[in-house]
Subunit: 501 residues, 2 copies
Amino acid sequence: MTKIQKKYQDYVATMQKRADVDYAIGLLSWDKETYMPDKGARFRSQQVATLSGISHEIFTDKKLGKLLADLNDKAGKLDKRQAKNVKLSLKEYERSTKLSKEFVIKKSQAISKAYHAWVEARKANDFKVYKKELSAVVDICREEAELIGYKDHPYDALLDLYEPDAKTKDLTILFKDVREQLVGFVKELKEKSQVKDDFLYKKYDKDKQWDFGLKLLKNMGYDFKAGRQDLSEHPFTINFSPEDVRVTTRVDENDFMNMTWSCIHEGGHALYEQGLPSDQYGLPLGAYISLGIHESQSRLWENNVGRSLPYWKAHYKGLKKQFPKNLGAVSTKKFYKAINKIQPNLIRTEADELHYHFHVLIRFEIEKGLMEGSLKVDNLEEIWNAKYKEYLGVKVPDAKHGILQDIHWSHGSIGYFPTYSLGSFYAAQFFQQAEKEIPNLLKEIENGNTQPLLDWLRENTHKHGRYYNAEELCKKITGEKLNFKYFMDYARKKFGGIYGV
Amino acid sequence: MTKIQKKYQDYVATMQKRADVDYAIGLLSWDKETYMPDKGARFRSQQVATLSGISHEIFTDKKLGKLLADLNDKAGKLDKRQAKNVKLSLKEYERSTKLSKEFVIKKSQAISKAYHAWVEARKANDFKVYKKELSAVVDICREEAELIGYKDHPYDALLDLYEPDAKTKDLTILFKDVREQLVGFVKELKEKSQVKDDFLYKKYDKDKQWDFGLKLLKNMGYDFKAGRQDLSEHPFTINFSPEDVRVTTRVDENDFMNMTWSCIHEGGHALYEQGLPSDQYGLPLGAYISLGIHESQSRLWENNVGRSLPYWKAHYKGLKKQFPKNLGAVSTKKFYKAINKIQPNLIRTEADELHYHFHVLIRFEIEKGLMEGSLKVDNLEEIWNAKYKEYLGVKVPDAKHGILQDIHWSHGSIGYFPTYSLGSFYAAQFFQQAEKEIPNLLKEIENGNTQPLLDWLRENTHKHGRYYNAEELCKKITGEKLNFKYFMDYARKKFGGIYGV
């Protein structure tokens, strides 16, 4: 082995050691949400904190920094995948060295306080209870942006954590498109008569729902030998290697689709993780690109596939057989329309496929403003409510149904929200490309065969890990960077069809 | 805070850090046996290995050694529980420093080879396949004993790992008693007519078994808010703090009692762990005393309580109601006799309450001989088979039903087996004391109330953690050290009654 290859192996060993610790933390978290008995919580928090500290120590060790710098200097002697790993790890390492231990502690204390204040504010249904602590989080995030550094906009430094290389400038253009194009289109839909969906909210037996969800997951190609589904309060996907990727769901007896969308959505996330290269375990090239690309996989399966007519031509018959009382008189077409009902609402997580992006738009504008300093936490509730009135046409009745609905800011996660919309927009652009490249894709889906689609995603996205960033991947797959046009085309065709616009 | 108290807190922090890592390893292991999908195994092993290495690094850090030595020198300034923690940790630390890194690696390689050879030998049903590797393990264990050091007997150095402060000399006397007193008694029983137990092996619905097991656990006082039961191939108890202590069981449709004994046995282990003081988390005083004392808790519940007539006077009615077809015609007395059937057998884990100790006796004699060098692995199968003929009167048909049945030696665990018998003997001695001290204990059990017994165990054993060693605890509870007499009294009374001896 050459000297440089020996060094590379040292780097790999350190990264894998860190991954082993991180995945152990992952299991501690999975267990907490699924099987842990109540009283286990106290020591579990301590165990997670200890392991997080150890993971941090491993990654911020100066020896690793030196190794990464050395390897990066001699990147020409590495193969290009190795060189990319080194480059990406060095970027992460450098980011971590820019924050002092004191700053990290200060931030985690501010977050802890903000989270508790958020919980209390929700109980009191009063934004005032949370204002001071949220302000502190915003200040810390602005300070973090300065410490990390940025070229154009402080928000860039935060976005980079969730969506590497994303820029405020580009997102501003993107969300301007959302505002200009989507608001108008949704208004057109609103003028048409509403679809009926009452049959979705009858009583659906929980065990039968569970079995149906498993069938859908299996049909998508989710590998149950490398994963499993369990129940949890909030659905999530978590992985401990590409060979152990788990999903959770919830089952609501009076809302059948809740379970269905969570299965397909988390299934989409899980297929991505199961498709990552296991020989790159612990390295950037063994990991997902960004939250936006992760979400593109879940949204593509959930919306472009799961909420399509061909998909239910394949699966509706089986579903009807399970629930003849509720669905016996409902045609496939009627069912398809019902699951695509468009209606403005107050809560982001309950929004339909189109209104969802107004919720994100509002958060994007607010976060950007807070980071620039053009908005202040003090009158944020009024700003929030005004935007909901303007974009969604709804009146926010109270803080719980408004500004207090999301946990993100209380966790210090500023810059996270835009990735949700990016996911849908990437999904639309990728899916139209898949339709071009996969022979008879819609026909295959109609026949219950999504394997060609999965193969295409594996080949074009999953297998590369983080070799490309989001923009590079998008160009590689579709020949151009993210373009909101594809989402609008999709929306106009689908919802225009359903509502007769 | 005084300087010495500050040092003590540093020691506590290090021990808790190690405990956090160890309990994360515990969860990785629990998950592996319960819910992990098949393909998860590969990276899981690596994750466990990494965390084990980290735990080892934390504990063998020279700074900790220095801290422990300092604290031990000034133990007079600590309170007596603190001083005991320091003393016990120092003992463990010193043991760990006596083994070089090279030796630890050599041992783990020998064990890995031996385990694989054992698996292969079982497949081939041929002891020869395993001989060489087992010899290597025995040699390593002898070398370990020399490195660790001992006063009287090399076996002492190994016993100490599982049963701190146990001595070969004492065990030799104990097992001489077993041989002399138990062999004769069992012969007497054998001359009497056998009890009937065929109704235990009819078809018992698995779900009903599961529910019945949970009921028994609950009735014992097992706290389901600080634990849970799951299924696994081999039942076990595992804890991640005293506030999260989990048990597993297996359910065999054609062997009802299999599930029942595993529930009560693991429940006994779990009650001990749930009763340990959580303010001593990570410290010796927050841990169990020895495997023998741990087993005393499980065996006390399983045999002295669970296999008693009063216990089934409380629970048989409910059981019968669940399985009227199988048990409708079976009286409580008949059931009680059936579950206490005595019969020589070949496999330790399937042995009855009395023959079990012959199995252990044989392993004790062999281990002692191997450690002294008076026995060799080469002709161990002949020795094994001869002892089974002599003590149990059974002919071993092949290696799988003989010398290849246990995994222990292939894991390098020499000195573990005696703790199983110690558990039962301590249990008998503790239980006769409980009968003296708890008013109407048997009557309470008959009424389904084991709370007074649990309170007594909590007060006399659990709450002390490792403050006393096994011998000290035994003297404290019963006024004398372990005495085989109590087990024989119990055996004569119970089985004499059942078989009419």
